[in-house]
């Protein structure tokens, strides 16, 4: 069975929206050549939302050929940066116009709160596109003095890499799409974006806006697919110059291997994390609720399905009891906000899939089995929907699975510590290094701690804030390369040094 006709979705708030279901190649929606499909399931009702085309290896070949053609003819050096910037800004304008339906669609497909999707996911994605629109015509090389006789020149050209495969996860489809295409398109690359098979719908809807904004065909192709089919085809494709991946560390390894074994395509990875969140006794706990808030914000937002969630809480002994009491109070407020994603004031919804929900439940069970205490939550959800409610686990030791491994759900483990030395060692005792946060009002302590935490982002007296102009990425096995900021442009460009001898050009 093949599909490319748009499907009409009805939302719990009464909204109706048509969503395309074909693969988006060359500015058109087409069925998979082999008729492969994906069923996107509503994590609240456990029912099928839509059936969309799924890319097989043959479809990927077509998509790559389209991207390559576009790069050679209408994109790359065939279009000045200022025009690329205008198109990106236009896309941002359209996303702003359609914030409400897009936010609702993100919520419907993923299970997150619709209000949060509209208030956080969309504006951040839009800001990211605008930020990179501004960089499009500001990518500089260098001219370099090499010669004191004035006969030779050296300079660098910063050229686009070419055809870039971008594989994004299901936790923030629209935001991750913007983080990927922003710098890639600004730099002049063409993009084949593979959204997750769990959440293909927002990306397909955004593809309509790409056409409306005026991007030429082939500049942005969108091919929902299963990771081991379309994802594998992209990462081992000989005509793809680069793969950018956000997802699990396990899949990241596979991607790096496939890249190495095929054409040594360039690879950047944003992988998992088990980020520590530290409360020092010197923190300003009169604003305790604020520190608590940031703890919850760090782990319960998006149902904990966040690579940089602050999932290991360390509280200094001196303030431990008071802080935990406060923590439990506000955990109740968060839990009350979990429910129907389309309810007013909804803070959380179900996890994205049954598999994810079962994984999280298994981790909590393992904590019990290993002797930890379930201090809050930890109960199975009764009824429809793949919910797992906020859970806090205490009495943990560093070797427990729930302390070492990424759970990717709303589960926080809490540890008491005595000294700064001790907690830094505990915090760094991880193969991950994506983020870290701590609260302290001692300036010297802040400087010491931020310098010694092994993480790509360190938050001081807050948690989780991101800005398109500040780089983001992992130490250690949390990834390689940085997204956002000026640094993301390096992921999509390559340096050509030009050395020119013009001493032969004298008159007469």
């Amino acid at each position: 069975m093949s599909t490319s006709l748009p499907t009409l979705l009805t939302f719990p708030n009464g909204r109706e929206l048509t969503v395309p279901t074909g693969l988006f190649i060359d500015n058109k929606f087409v069925p998979s050549i082999e008729g492969a499909t994906i069923q996107s399931i509503n994590p609240v009702t456990e029912e099928v939302l839509a059936v969309v085309s799924s890319a097989t290896a043959k479809d990927i070949d077509i998509a790559v050929a389209s991207s390559r053609h576009a790069f050679r003819t209408v994109w790359g050096r065939n279009i000045p940066g200022v025009e690329r910037g205008k198109l990106l800004n236009r896309l941002a304008d359209l996303m702003e116009r359609d914030t409400d339906p897009l936010g609702d669609l993100e919520a419907l497909d993923n299970g997150k709160s619709a209000e949060v999707a509209r208030a956080v996911d969309l504006p951040e994605a839009i800001a990211c596109l605008r930020y990179y629109a501004g960089w499009s015509d500001k990518i500089f090389g260098q001219t370099i003095e090499v010669d004191d006789k004035g006969h030779k020149s050296a300079s660098t050209r910063i050229e686009p890499l070419g055809v870039c495969a971008q594989i994004i996860p299901w936790n923030y489809t629209i935001m991750m799409l913007a983080w990927k295409i922003g710098p890639a398109l600004a730099a002049g690359c063409t993009v084949i974006l593979k959204p997750s098979e769990l959440t293909p719908l927002p990306a397909l809807k955004l593809a309509e806006l790409v056409v409306e904004a005026g991007f030429p065909p082939g500049v942005f192709n969108c091919v929902p697919s299963f990771g081991d089919v379309g994802g594998a085809a992209l990462t081992s494709h000989l005509d793809v110059d680069k793969v950018a991946f956000t997802g699990s560390t396990a899949t990241g390894r596979k991607i790096m291997q496939a890249a190495a074994l095929s054409n040594l395509k360039k690879v950047t990875l944003e992988l998992g994390g088990k980020s520590p969140h530290i409360i020092f006794a010197s923190a300003n706990l009169k604003e305790g609720p604020r520190s608590c808030e940031s703890c919850h914000w760090g782990v319960f937002l998006n149902q904990g399905q966040d690579c940089v969630a602050g999932t290991r809480l360390y509280v200094q002994a001196k303030v431990y009891d008071a802080f935990i009491e406060e923590l439990l109070h506000s955990a109740k407020e968060w839990t009350a906000g979990y429910g129907d994603p389309f309810a007013e004031g909804a803070l959380g919804g179900p996890l994205v899939s049954e598999v994810q929900r079962d994984k999280v439940a298994a981790y909590v069970d393992s904590a019990r089995a290993e002797g930890a205490s379930i201090v809050y939550g930890g109960e199975r959800w009764q009824g429809k929907g793949w919910y797992y409610l906020p859970t806090i686990i205490g009495d943990v030791t560093p070797t427990m699975k729930v302390v070492k491994e990424e759970i990717f759900g709303p589960v926080l483990v809490v540890t008491k510590f005595e000294t700064e030395e001790e907690v830094i060692a505990l915090a760094n005792d991880s193969t991950y290094g994506l983020g870290a946060g701590f609260h302290s009002n001692d300036a010297n302590q802040c400087q010491r701690v931020l310098a010694r935490l092994e993480a790509g982002t360190v938050w001081v007296n807050q948690y989780g804030q991101l800005y398109p102009q500040v780089p983001f990425g992992g130490y250690k096995q949390s990834g390689m390369g940085r997204e956002l900021g000026t640094y993301a442009l390096e992921n999509y460009t390559q340096v050509k040094s030009v050395l020119w001898d013009y001493s032969g050009g004298s008159a007469q």
Binding site: G134, K138, G150, Y502
Partner: protein, 505 residues
Amino acid sequence: MAPTTFSYDFSNEASGFGKKSSFPSGLFINGQFVDSVDSKTIELINPTTAKSLGHITVASEKDIDLAVEAAQKAFETTWGLHASGQERGKLLIRLAELIEENIEELAALESLDNGKAVAVAQAVDVQGAADVLRYYGGWADKVHGKTIETDDATFAYTRHEPIGVVGQITPWNFPIWMLAWKLGPALATGNAVVFKPSEWTPLTALRVASLIKEAGFPPGVVNIVPGIGNIAGAAISNHSGIGKVAFTGSTAVGRAIMKAAASSNLKRVTLELGGKSPTLVLDDCNLENAARWAAYGILANHGQVCCAGTRIYVQDNIYDKFLEKFLAVVKSVKLGDPFHPETFQGPQVSKTQFDRILNYIEHGKKEGATCLLGGQQHGTEGYFIQPTIFTDIKPEMRIVKEEIFGPVGVVAKFSNDEELIKLANDTVYGLAAAVFSENLSRAVKLANALKAGTVWVNTYNTIRTNVPFGGYKQSGQGRELGEYALDNYTQVKAVHINLSGPPPI
């Protein structure tokens, strides 16, 4: 009581906007259009007809005080770093969009005021202004300082902060384009502005004032105060509440501004001044192209361009051939009504400029140069001057040394590249230069030897929004356009945080 609205009906013009334009005039201070404190006005003259266009308000010293006060307040509350880079960028891009939405009206106003061909005003000046503002809109959230490695006892970093209130004084040759060159980087970096357009050509600035309001800039962020140079301009240069002045105009006035800045509060100064830029035609050039570009270099904007290629040096073995082609191109340009679609050259901007240029031409003849072409007023109405070419020149002649700022070029021979470099660099100016040669190596070697802020190879007057522009020597200091302009509007604060270093005593 000064007039509060400027109106002109373009429906009888040969092309362009074709409607009535009517917009608030007066001084734009703190988001409002107001009369000047002493109700002074100045008459605007249409250079095409020499007839009056009406009166506009001009600022006195007291008005400048009010503008500075408004700018200061905005900087401390709604602007500066109180407005994020993203917000500042969005406003600049919105202003660019509004300028594009009103492009025909703005082009018509520019032509009315300045005399340039309306098709050029639209495609180059007004579109260019929108492009520049959009470009700097993209910079607004990308003004970075550095974190700098020292040792474990110190955390050191820099902030690139806006200066505060800046004064900007622009000329009459590219009114709206110069407005964008100035406002773009100043606003992107968070400064509040007191902006004085030339009193000869204030119309597009006044129309843009309404667009600034419509775009949503907070009141006081941009204040637009047309005024006379030695009153409003002097007030700005002398004002102790202004941290920086940026000026584009003549070298003579540039000196006065730098002096005033020095004797008042040592405010920072950037200057884009005059030029006497050489066009170098080598014997291995594409002769046809060189002749066309050289003609464009001297005649664009009626010669009223700071970087005009006013001294043309031609290699002796192609001199006659070049001159023949060059004169043919010069003769072919059409002079006439700026609103006529075929017009290339309109009138000079004012009687003052008209007289000055004719004076130079007379002087050239008296000094013994040969006036090969032109040399007179064109027609009987308005301030039109024939394209004028002198040969048989000597380096000491005034028409060779001084900036004429009209459609007047001088042509001379050279025999070899060493001689050429000396001739080209023999000037107090250093704004631009152009080399015509098909041998890129030879051209680049010459380019590297020329003392000029912009060197063109096989082109002339090519300005790009993202490439810096500015002068060597007495053509100015500082660079506009590109990333470089941001340095003109930021100041560096270094912060050293001592973590554990003990005091020495």
